[in-house]
């Protein structure tokens, strides 16, 4: 045992350090994303948004966070208390875990695994459990409806996300995220695969329960959906998990379609900028699109949501898989051929 501790102590410590290096910027990113979200939304509606706490209202989000930390955690009487408290923890832990394989620059990644894209897909497909457990354990009608809606919604849109990922993988020939980015050196994938880019973007909105697909927490119908019974810290965990998932989806869009950390054109002043700056800029741009969609698209009705997922996106992405592989095969473009 002592040998084991000696052998692995430094390794474990380095991994913990790397995890902190991911977690702290991510936390900062979530704070900035929340602020940006509210500011953009306010600007579209001709309001000022948060502008009181700190310069330009920058400290509004940390102030809100502190407020939640000091609030009482209310456990509903009839709830299943263990599951009720585990659910937000699972949501946050899973959303952070997915970031372990996201490369922000060439070689800057915690775990450069061969099946990186599958790992992210698997982890994000687990995200539905946090919501289901929360909805069921609250032992209340609105959270339960929210959870049922969310389960159906996330499972449906995962199918089309899976097919979109396959079309990208056909062009790359590898499941490794770094190699997916490097394959876009000549052309970013959103140009040849533009329809799939749109499908992925909309499915990402549905997968992260963002408006116009925020039916699990539709406030005009279900109070706050699965979050209704949550207060204080568990609510903050849900909120953070949700926003980290949104940032993950922005990062995925960037990696799969917008060339990750690569500069737009490989010429001098642009390629001297460090890769993670490009990555950050692109993620911010995609997040801006997310926020704009939230600002001007009304919420979908539930049957419309299901129709879009199963009758439009599924056939479209399935056709795209066949078409892409046919074109790659007959024009001898497929990698490894």
């Amino acid at each position: 045992m002592i040998n084991l501790a000696q052998t692995y102590f430094i390794e474990v410590m380095t991994i913990i350090l790397y995890c902190l290096l991911i977690f702290v910027p991510l936390l900062l990113g979530v704070v900035m994303a929340l602020y940006a979200d509210r500011k953009i939304w306010a600007a579209v509606q001709k309001r000022r948004g948060p502008n009181v706490v700190g310069p330009y209202g920058l400290f509004q989000v940390p102030a809100d966070g502190l407020k939640f930390i000091f609030k009482e955690i209310i456990l509903p009487d009839g709830s299943d208390k263990t599951v009720f408290l585990i659910a937000p923890i699972i949501t946050l832990a899973l959303s952070i875990a997915a970031w372990a394989v996201v490369p922000v620059q060439a070689g800057v990644v915690l775990a450069n695994i061969n099946v990186g894209i599958l790992y992210i897909f698997a982890i994000s497909s687990l995200g539905v459990y946090g919501i289901l457990m929360a909805g069921w354990s609250s032992n209340s009608k609105y959270p339960f409806f929210g959870a049922l809606r969310s389960a159906a919604q996330m499972v449906s849109y995962e199918v089309s996300i899976g097919f979109v990922i396959i079309t990208v993988l056909l062009c790359v020939g590898s499941l490794n995220l770094t190699e997916i980015v490097m394959a876009q050196k000549t052309m970013w994938f959103f140009i040849p695969l533009f329809p799939m880019f749109i499908v992925f973007f909309i499915s990402a909105l549905a997968e992260t329960n963002r408006p116009p697909f925020d039916l699990p927490e539709a406030e005009s119908e279900l109070v706050a959906g699965y979050q209704t019974e949550y207060s204080g810290m568990p609510f903050v965990l849900f909120m953070f998990g949700e926003y980290i998932n949104i940032l993950l989806m922005c990062a995925m869009t960037t990696i799969l379609f917008l060339g990750g950390w690569l500069p737009p054109i490989d010429i001098y002043p642009l390629n001297a900028v460090p890769g993670f700056v490009w990555f950050l800029l692109k993620v911010t741009f995609v997040f801006y699109l997310f926020a704009m969609v939230k600002a001007f698209v009304p919420r979908y009705r539930y049957d419309q949501l299901m129709r879009l997922g199963w009758k439009v996106f599924l056939p479209l992405s399935l056709f795209a898989v066949v078409a892409t592989s046919t074109i790659l095969f007959f024009f001898n473009l497929a990698p490894g051929m």
């Binding site: 052998t7 061969n114 099946v115 599958l118 339960f144 959870a147 499972v155 129709r307």
Partner: protein
């Protein structure tokens, strides 16, 4: 005692405990959650075996899709009335029977030298050489190149089963109003498009 062994015992220990909890907890939803936990740890075992593709597929298919539907159904059951503790003991004989059959089969396979695979010199369809390939490529080449016929056949069988179950359960209901999106988009005369000036609003 290497770290690998330690992780193996961790994963398999959690699998054993959570599988036990699946059959012993009184709440069906907790059972499903423990089932999911044991699936996840089985995926961990695959990762230890360097079968990372299988591990991810196990999580995506079983945990991400199948178990969600399990949980979906079980959550909607009224479990307070469906549990009857009195007749749990009546399943013990059949449980013991199944266990005995399993153990007998395992013993036969392990002891009988006829089933010793190392004695078999010639396999009917030898697998191709996978050195230098990642296991995603290896599985792909076995499934889609070596055994493409069987793969296609099982796919067709599944398709037939799917269509069959849809046909059997489909009911045409009378008087249901369905939304036809293309008709809605084409309708004329009922809606006006008004160009609203920014900051001035519009008279309705």
């Amino acid at each position: 005692m290497t770290a690998q062994l330690l992780t193996f015992y961790l994963f398999s220990g959690v699998i054993l405990i959570s599988s036990l909890m699946v059959i012993s907890t009184k709440n069906p939803v907790h059972s499903v959650l423990f089932l999911i936990l044991s699936f996840l740890n089985a995926a961990g075992l695959f990762v230890i075996l360097h079968a990372e593709f299988l591990a991810m597929i196990l999580i995506i298919v079983y945990v991400g899709a199948v178990a969600v539907l399990f949980l979906f159904v079980v959550m909607m059951l009224d479990f307070k009335t469906s549990i009857n503790k009195d007749n749990i003991l009546q399943y013990i004989p059949i449980g013991i029977l199944i266990g005995v059959v399993f153990i007998a089969e395992l013993i036969i396979v392990l002891i009988n030298t006829k089933f010793d695979l190392s004695n078999i010199q010639v396999l009917p369809n030898p697998l191709s050489d996978f050195t230098g390939k990642s296991n995603t490529e290896a599985i792909g080449s076995v499934l889609y190149t070596d055994y493409i016929l069987y793969f296609q056949l099982s796919g067709v069988i599944l398709l037939v089963a799917m269509i069959g179950s849809i046909v059997l359960t489909l009911r045409e209901r009378e008087g249901v109003k369905r939304q036809v999106v293309s008709e809605q988009l084409q309708r004329q005369g009922k809606i006006d498009l008004v160009d609203v000036k920014s900051g001035k609003g519009v008279d309705v």
